[in-house]
């Protein structure tokens, strides 16, 4: 079902990739990690979170981890997600792109100072 577009990468999806770069997490874990890494600025609501997760899974940028013993108990039915190597690569490219933007922004600034 290739229907969702990740090009350009939406900020929410990028934040999720970054959250998963550190550890495998379930949905709520991702939401908290994103809140942490953005200083509380971004709190992903369930709709945005799972919609982004769905797109990322479809594009194979993250994958759902199957429970180790293959059975799902009612107690532990949370789905845990892991960053795929394609996802890691995309996150790296996006970070590099943002770094470029930052560099241009700095260059446009009139930084005076004569180191003479």
């Amino acid at each position: 079902m290739p229907k969702r577009k990740l090009d350009p990468l939406p900020p929410a999806a990028f934040q999720i990739l970054l959250a998963l770069a550190g550890a495998d997490l379930h949905g709520y874990g991702i939401m908290r990690q994103v809140a942490d890494q953005t200083g509380g600025r971004v709190r992903l609501g369930p709709g945005t979170l799972y919609s982004s997760i769905q797109s990322l899974v479809e594009e194979k940028l993250i994958e759902e981890i199957k429970p180790a013993d293959g059975k799902e108990t009612d107690q532990d039915r949370r789905r845990v997600y892991r960053l795929s190597s394609a996802g890691r690569k995309l996150a790296r490219n996006e970070a590099a792109r943002l770094a470029d933007v930052l560099r241009v922004a700095r260059a446009k600034n009139i930084l005076r100072g004569d180191y003479v």
Partner: protein, 568 residues
Amino acid sequence: MSERVYACLLRLLPAGFRDAYGADALELFRDRSRDERGLFRRLRLWNDLLFDLAISIPREYRLARSTPSGPRASSDFGTIPSFDVLAADRIHPTSLLLGSMLTTLALGALTILSSHVSTRLGEGPSVSSKHSVNARYDPLGAVASPQGSGTSDTPAEKVFKAWLLAFNSADPSAMTAFTKLYDPTGKMGMFISPRFRISTGGFEVLSMTSPQPMSVHFCIKEVNSSTRGLGSIRVNPTATPTVAAFNVDEVPPDAVITEIKLDATERHRVIKGTIETLNEYYVWPAVAQQMAATLLAHERNGDDKAETDGGFFAAMLTAQARSVSHDEHLRVMYKPFKTPESASGGPTPEEVAHYREAMVRNNCTFEEVHILPHNIGYLKFSAFPDVDVCRSTVTKVMKSLRHADAVIFDLRDNHGGDPHMVALMCSYLFDHRTHLNDIYDRHENSTQEFWTSSPIPGNTLANKPAYVLTSADTFSGAEEFSNDLKNLNRATLVGETTAGGAHLVQERRIDEHFSIQVPFGRPINPITKTDWEGTGVAPDVTVKSDAALETAERLAATRVKGLKPESQ
């Protein structure tokens, strides 16, 4: 109860999405409800959820609609006109109604509550306080809503006049109000600082022209002296025009202003002169060749063709060259008056005299020098000015801190200067001659060593704890100061990674209007054998630059108390 409400609201999402993630969304709601207690956090939770649904519902339906129709999409609606629900199970009309009502009610309640809470807690901008700000700051208010002839002002003229009123009012709050409204990115620098207002006495406008609605060229004169400045302001074409670029150059007293209109021949001559200078002097010859190729390619493409304005043409060449080198020290410059060719290639005697006078007036850029609680010396300065001009000021400043138990150098707004001055300032922190830095000159193919001139007679700071405050704006020579002391383990750097400009520059003349500030040399740290071009100098203690002083004060106070156990 609230879980059931949210479960109902979730039914507004398309069935496909709900089947896949509905349970997870509900689980997440439970997790957050468990963790986020108290009125404020609850309100925030519901605010997040409703906002999220308001965005997600239309998006999911849009996505569901664009899905290639599977068996579910071609369901039993047939040809009967109907809502395109695209769901296995239809949304029951009562759910829809209930959902809409609840959303409306919740949003209404939230609005009332949040305004109530923010007024009570005094947080968030309330309308009444905004009004009082405008009412109090007359100068800005007058320009923000121009009357009479003012209504025909272009956006750039409006901002320029607002700046002049705020600056000349000498009222710090008017300046803050101007910055907030028109200059959120801080392009005006010291031109909107109360201190600069005091030293200049304000400005008179001698002339003003508007070549385009978004830019103004002007000539201004300091009230306190005969110093004239020639500058331009460019604003963004936004609803409230904000400053995109601001630039003022001092005009030598006897200069005759002759604005020129560039043609293709003159443009080509400037490009050719720029390329020759870069090839001869730029610190990395291979990069110089790449920049030359880029400048020529832009000229061939006709990218420069329409530019007849000297200042904007210089800015254009600067941007083209920097797009390859990313070297923020490199700058092509234009002056709307003829500059004489001095025999030595260095500054003319008039320029030196002018510089000296400006430094005396600005206290060699030392903005603050005082003793903080716990006997911590603090000095903030915005440049490392020429050592020959400012040596006596530095001696005085450092002498005033001689009884301090620790010292904080605030370089957060420091944009560099003379490497000899960097060495002189460092000298106060050592009791013996110390190798700080080397500078490699590409044109001469030579390396100059920089050492401290320690010990300095009467100095008592050589063994005292030292802290350097840095920000992402700390640039050039200020980065060298930070880098030198960091690598010698002589100071603790507190703040942000610096801007990343290491090269040394000199101004080379292209013709009587144009010159280029060309990076000709690079530092080599004797310990790391590297420089910080493009990377910046990383702090030892990373905090936002706003919090750097507070953090350093705390560190210094702890350290000072530790060193003197007999004091409380």
